[in-house]
Amino acid sequence: MSKIVAIAALKESGVRGGGVPTFYSDDTASMQKIAFTLEKILDATAHDLKNGTIILVRHEGGSS
């Protein structure tokens, strides 16, 4: 099963920290930057939920 390993979110999106580390930013550009860095560090895929939230998911079964 795939697993969310981190979240990059806009402050205004209303996302609150829960099971995984959550990184807040003020604007989309810096959120993208955080998500980019996290993707490279975590070997995870970034997916945009279209509500000011990017989740970083490690897909299982797929090659890294």
């Binding site: 993208q32 998500a35 980019f36 993707e39 490279k40 070997d43 995870a44 895929t45 970034a46 997916h47 945009d48 279209k50 990017i54 989740i55 970083l56 490690r58 897909h59 797929g62 090659s63 890294s64």
Partner: protein
Amino acid sequence: MIEEFMKSPYTVGVIIGIVFGIISRLSMLRTDYRQYPANPHGRIVHISLGVIAASLGAVAVPALLEKEYTAVTFLTLAAQQFREVRSMERETLTRIDSLELVPRGVTYIEGIAIAFEGRNYLAITTALLSTLGSVLFTWYWGVAAGLLALVLTHFFMSGKTVSQLAHIEQAEVVMKGPDLYVNDIYIMNIGLEDTREKIARHSLGFILHPKTPDFKVTLANLGQRQAILHDLSTILGVYRDSGEPSLVPQAKIDLNDGRLAVFILPQDRDPAKAMQVIGQVPVLENAVRMPSESKAQKGEAKSEG
């Protein structure tokens, strides 16, 4: 001593059998785009086994003619040996696969392994037929039988390719916000702007329309899809590195009509070449499904007609 050796009625036959057996194995041992077996040692393993296979096939004929029926048990030993070839190939390829940027997939590996086993049996058969021909008649009948067996061998070993069973067309790669489509088929969600830009610059998309209902099922097989992606990435290169899981090539089907959308990021961005490559991908034996052969399907057709 050589003269004495040649006096034996079977010697010429056995030699012809072995020669044709080896020729048949060599002709099936081509290093093609799959780059396999590419290294000299891999080839030596297969050539040696081919020589053994040819000898067994050739020697079986005189043994039977001399009423040495127990000699046939040697053939079972050979079968055992060649089954081992299969597991050897499987093991090697599976291990290598874990370090491929775009893996072959188990279905493709199993297909290659079976082919390697099968080729040895074909070498045995070729040797057997040519020895039989030259022992029963004369040496040139042996040669004729050998040539015929070679032709048959190639007939048996050439499988179908994707181009025979599907119509391939180039399609547009569309980004709708973070969602990636090939024409109208959804592929995946891309979160990063940077990745979206890379995809816009480097990607190619294709749609495969299966020509028969049977091939629709085969094309839906994950192993068959992975084989297409692997071959494309091997031949055209892949714009990807480790730690870039979002740049992975994908193939998704349209659940409504069975079309397959192929999304790739090649180094060599040449759509014509890519279409040719997709067309050449072998239809994997283990992915082939024939639902149309089912009695249920035929019964349905009868009640309709």
